[in-house]
């Protein structure tokens, strides 16, 4: 092979890089690196002029390898690979040096240091790139079926979009019914239309859709495979009710003698039976036996539901069913968990009886809730005369969650409206900042102010039942600093509603691990790009929608559900997906069959070939993570694009002293 000819391009990125790094100097210096035949700096490498420069130089200087020193490969690796490909150079003969995130942005006050670091990074890329090999991407067929995990509004929307487009969807929901949090709400802001009225038609559409297989009371246990060909194992928990016989008539739960506090759908305010349907509009309509509380399962006696069932649908012998699915894409819409207000003891939730959470209030005011929509105190009869609504409970607070939960301002305004409308009570809103951001929200805020709600700007420090004055007797006193008045206030009220924040689901980490996605600092799933790719993840074929990605309200959840569906439909219509050729391979001639690698692969891509006594990587399953490459004790597993030679050359390249151009570590 003839000598390599490397082109180096150092990007200014406007002031992003050039403001700190002396890019011109880096480019001039790079001319002296081995094999470099041309080095240039450029204001914006990602602009068409920058890309065209690379293409022209590849032809004019007969470049065999290209290095662009600019931003993160997450941003523009594809851009420059494509530019190389257009000029006839295999895109894997391109290497990127990240001198923005790794140099200029992290050393903004050290021009010399950042410049030296940029030189070292460029040197690493130049040393590495000449060892890179041309690679050809692999194409695999995409299965048209999709798995949607979570049957809240985001999952429902995603499932319907895909099913309506003519492709099959498996919708898996952990609870006995779909509907999610939205099904528990009474009204929705800012239009005040009834949540059930707008949600239940969609739920019924899902339940009856020919393209949707609805798996409620089910959980995903295992995910294997890769984009286009995921194998998913679902455990359908035993309902003890035969869905093919049950008509949902309700006789069983009417006659069931066991009452259980319903902590899920009634937020602990109401009861359900041991055999129950979560709420009247549940989809599917079939009940489920709560075997923890069922007398028959506890003592072997009762069987009341079996006796009264007119269609003999009760089956106490029913076992969990394991269902194996094959899907091409996955949408995670696993939703959120409400912040546990008990974590803020000074707010008294759980101790002071008339302190309610937002979800409890939703149930109180819901016509199908425990009070049939009457807003009353915990005693079940007294109508409050004064109500305090505390915003940002557990949100925007470094002691609990730093993030804004996005929905609490608006739901608090909704609560204020409902309280005033139904009880005529005086309402105080304690807020830090009002953030009615979306369409119609600001108008709703003004409407509630005009309706007479009082707004006090200040974070509540305490809610107490210890009076200081006669007016405070038998009241809850909300203590806060009114930052507009500049003084401490004590507001006596009958009822307090805590607008609890939204948190990631308790098992978000495990779910993330199972599906190969990441969790961010706040614990929500990480999107591929916060602005430009909000529903994709770093794992091809796995998308996220709704509050599992971050706190958001119904319109945003619906939009994300639809967006994720659009992404899935896009890949289905491509029929094939292109896989990165970056994957591991085993030199079978040199594999000694020690089997160290066999159970390490997170994608189960390694098989042991018994008759040859060697291990083998299935290239379609391998994602190139490098686990086996690092573990192989005889070093006969190679990661394409991350070969031993490439990595060592990169290290040699970065280990030069940019001041003297000599290796940092001299031989012993």
């Amino acid at each position: 092979m003839s000598e390599p000819r490397v082109g180096v391009y150092v990007c200014h990125c406007g002031h992003n890089i050039a403001g700190t790094v002396d890019v011109q100097h880096v480019a001039e210096w790079a001319m002296g690196l081995p094999n470099v035949v041309i080095a240039r700096d450029n204001k914006f490498m990602c602009a068409s002029t920058g890309q065209e420069q690379v293409e022209e130089d590849i032809k004019q200087f007969e470049l065999t390898h290209v290095v662009v020193a600019s931003c993160s490969p997450h941003m523009h690796e594809k851009t420059f690979r494509n530019a190389c490909a257009r000029a006839g150079l295999n895109p894997y003969l391109f290497e990127m040096a990240n001198i923005r995130e790794h140099a200029s942005w992290v050393h903004p006050n050290d021009r010399e240091g950042a410049t030296n670091k940029a030189k070292a990074l460029v040197s690493a890329a130049v040393h590495r790139v000449v060892h890179q090999q041309p690679l050809e991407p692999m194409k695999v067929d995409i299965r048209p079926e999709t798995l949607v995990v979570g049957g809240g509004i985001a999952g429902i929307q995603a499932a319907l979009e895909i099913a309506d487009a003519g492709y099959h969807v498996y919708l898996v929901e952990r609870e006995p019914s779909i509907g999610g949090h939205m099904a528990m709400f009474d009204k929705t802001f800012p239009t005040l239309d009834c949540a059930a009225c707008i949600l239940t038609p969609k739920m019924f559409d899902v339940g009856g859709h020919p393209n949707i297989t609805l798996l409620t009371y089910s959980e995903v246990e295992k995910v294997d495979g890769y984009v286009g060909n995921f194998q998913v194992r679902v455990r359908k928990k035993a309902r003890m009710v035969d869905e093919s016989l049950c008509t949902g008539c309700g006789t069983c739960w009417e006659k069931c003698p066991i009452k259980v506090v319903d902590t899920v759908w009634e937020a602990g305010l109401g009861y359900r039976k041991a055999i129950y349907r979560p709420f009247p509009q549940a989809v599917p309509k079939y009940p489920v036996i709560d075997i923890e509380n069922c007398t028959y399962f506890k003592t072997g006696k009762c069987r009341m539901c079996e006796k009264v069932c007119p269609t003999n649908a009760i089956n106490y012998e029913m076992q969990d069913e394991i269902i194996d699915l094959e899907v091409g894409n996955i949408i995670l819409a696993t939703g959120y968990k409400l912040f546990d207000a008990r974590r803020i003891p000074q707010y008294g939730y759980g101790r002071l009886e008339n302190v309610f959470t937002s979800l409890e209030f939703e149930r109180l005011t819901n016509a199908s809730g425990p009070t049939e929509g009457k807003i009353v105190l915990r005693d079940g009869e007294t109508t409050p005369q004064t109500v305090a609504i505390v915003h940002c409970v557990g949100s925007r607070d470094r002691n609990y969650n730093t993030h804004c939960s996005a929905i609490c301002c608006m739901s608090s305004l909704k609560f204020a409206h409902l309280v005033m409308e139904k009880t005529g009570a005086k309402v105080y809103n304690f807020y830090i900042d009002m953030r009615p951001l979306h369409k119609g929200y600001e108008e709703f805020y003004h409407r509630i102010m005009e309706e007479g709600a009082t707004f006090i700007r200040g974070k509540v420090s305490e809610i107490t039942d210890v009076p200081r004055t006669p007016e405070e007797e038998d009241k809850l006193i909300v203590v806060c600093e009114d930052t507009l008045l500049g003084r401490q206030r004590r507001v006596p009220v009958d009822m307090v509603i805590l607008a609890a924040g939204l948190e990631p689901q308790a098992d978000a980490q495990e779910v993330a691990h199972m599906f190969g996605v990441g969790c961010g600092e706040t614990g929500f799933f990480i999107e591929r790009h916060p602005k430009l790719d909000p529903v994709a993840t770093m794992t091809e074929g796995v998308f996220i929608a709704g509050a599992c990605q971050g706190a958001k309200d119904i319109p945003d959840s619906v939009a994300q559900g639809a967006a994720a569906a659009a992404r899935v439909l896009g890949t289905i219509n491509q029929r094939q997906v292109t896989l990165e050729p970056i994957r591991a391979s085993i030199d079978e001639e040199r594999c000694s069959g020690c089997r160290i690698c066999n159970n390490l692969c997170p994608y189960n891509a390694i098989d042991f070939i018994e008759e040859k006594g060697v291990s083998r990587v299935n290239p379609a399953l391998c994602k190139g993570c490098g686990t086996c490459v690092a573990a192989c004790p005889s070093q006969v597993i190679t990661g394409a694009h991350f070969t031993f030679e490439q990595i060592m050359a990169e290290i040699d390249g970065i280990m030069i002293d940019v001041l003297s151009d000599r290796p940092v570590v001299e031989a012993v």
Binding site: R590, C591, S592, G593, C594, R595, I596, C597, N598, N599, L600, F608, T627, A630, A631, C632, P633, S634, Q635, V636, F644, M648, A667, V668
Partner: protein, 336 residues
């Protein structure tokens, strides 16, 4: 010259002498060696003086089998001398190749070693506190000792080496292969290890399965199943990462491979490869479980780097501003 037998030299630097025995282990084939070569320097077996070598022409020796690591000035002097006088220099055995046992001193400093040997060891009787000096004046004149190095080096870290013959000691079959290659002139490219490029597992007849190690055992603690991979049974075995060529003799008799043939072809750091291989199959989910399993492996650094510390990427234990960082068992012997 063409009618003359090629000239052979053998030298013993910092090593145990086992390599010399290994040459004698050729038994009657030693006569073939003697028939094929003219032995011009072999101080272990016959009386030669360094001056004899110094008097030779450069390149006069056709082949030199050099065993032992380089840990003092005398070793280094002979390495340079024999390099100069030899056409082909072979690093013979694990000490010359990777540093081996003498190289484990690189987990310590020269001061540590001297302090232990001349003061702290329980068997030391040195009331006058005598320590060896490079030179000392006595009535008869000046006496000299070779300088004792802080860092043990491999032969190749001191002079260019043509071929490496691993093993502690190299197996007779390996020596025969090397001798035959030299006699026939069918040598691999200079810088090569003379041997195969698979690991001991390839030659080991034990059944291998997917591995999960729950704890390690010392050989005296269990009687291993005779047919199953020793590592799977919790016996430390470096065979997964060690170049084959020995016929897997140790694992076949129930003793885990110690790693004497060094790293597989292309591997820079033998210890790191053993470590990453074994660490990958520890049956642990938490850091505490990992610690608990590793607690059953005494002196992990010694196990992993037994034959190849100076020749590894690590080379030796780090020194930072005179503060010693304890490494494995080394910490136990840290002088107060």
């Amino acid at each position: 010259m063409s009618n003359q037998k090629p000239k052979l030299a053998l030298y013993w630097a910092s090593s145990c002498g086992g390599c010399e025995i290994a040459v004698l282990g050729l038994h009657e084939k030693i006569l073939d060696v003697a028939a094929a070569f003219e032995i011009v320097f072999w101080p272990c077996v016959m009386d030669f003086k360094y001056a004899d070598v110094e008097a030779m022409e450069d390149g006069e020796i056709d082949v030199c089998f050099f065993n032992g690591a380089i840990r003092n000035d005398e070793n280094a002097h002979l390495a340079h001398l024999l390099r100069q006088k030899s056409k082909v220099l072979v690093a013979f055995g694990s000490c010359a190749y990777g540093g081996s046992m003498p190289g484990l001193a690189n987990f310590y400093t020269r001061d540590d070693v001297l302090r232990w040997v001349y003061f702290d060891s329980p068997s030391t009787d040195n009331p006058d506190g005598v320590v060896p000096q490079k030179r000392v004046d006595v009535p008869e004149g000046e006496l000299r000792l070779p300088g004792f190095w802080d860092t043990v080096r491999t032969l190749a870290q001191v002079v260019p080496v043509d071929y490496f013959l691993p093993g502690c000691p190299p197996e007779v079959s390996s020596i025969e292969a090397a001798v035959n290659a030299i006699v026939s002139g069918e040598l691999p490219p200079p810088g090569s290890v003379i041997g195969v490029d698979v690991t001991v597992c390839d030659e080991c007849p034990r059944e291998k399965h997917e591995k999960k190690i729950k704890r390690f055992y010392r050989p005296q603690e269990i009687i291993p199943d005779p047919n199953i991979c020793l590592l799977e049974q919790g016996l430390f075995c470096a065979g997964i990462a060690t170049r084959a060529g020995c016929g897997a003799k140790c694992p076949q008799v129930g003793f885990g491979c110690r790693g004497c043939y060094g790293p597989n072809e292309g591997v820079l750091d033998h210890g790191a490869r053993i470590l990453s291989g074994i660490a990958s199959v520890l049956d642990a989910d938490t850091e505490e479980e990992v610690e608990a399993i590793l607690d059953t492996l005494p002196d992990p650094a010694g196990y992993f780097y037994r034959f190849h510390l100076p020749g590894s990427l690590l080379r030796r234990r780090g020194r930072t501003n005179g503060k010693r960082q304890p490494v494995g068992e080394a910490a136990v012997h840290e002088p107060a």
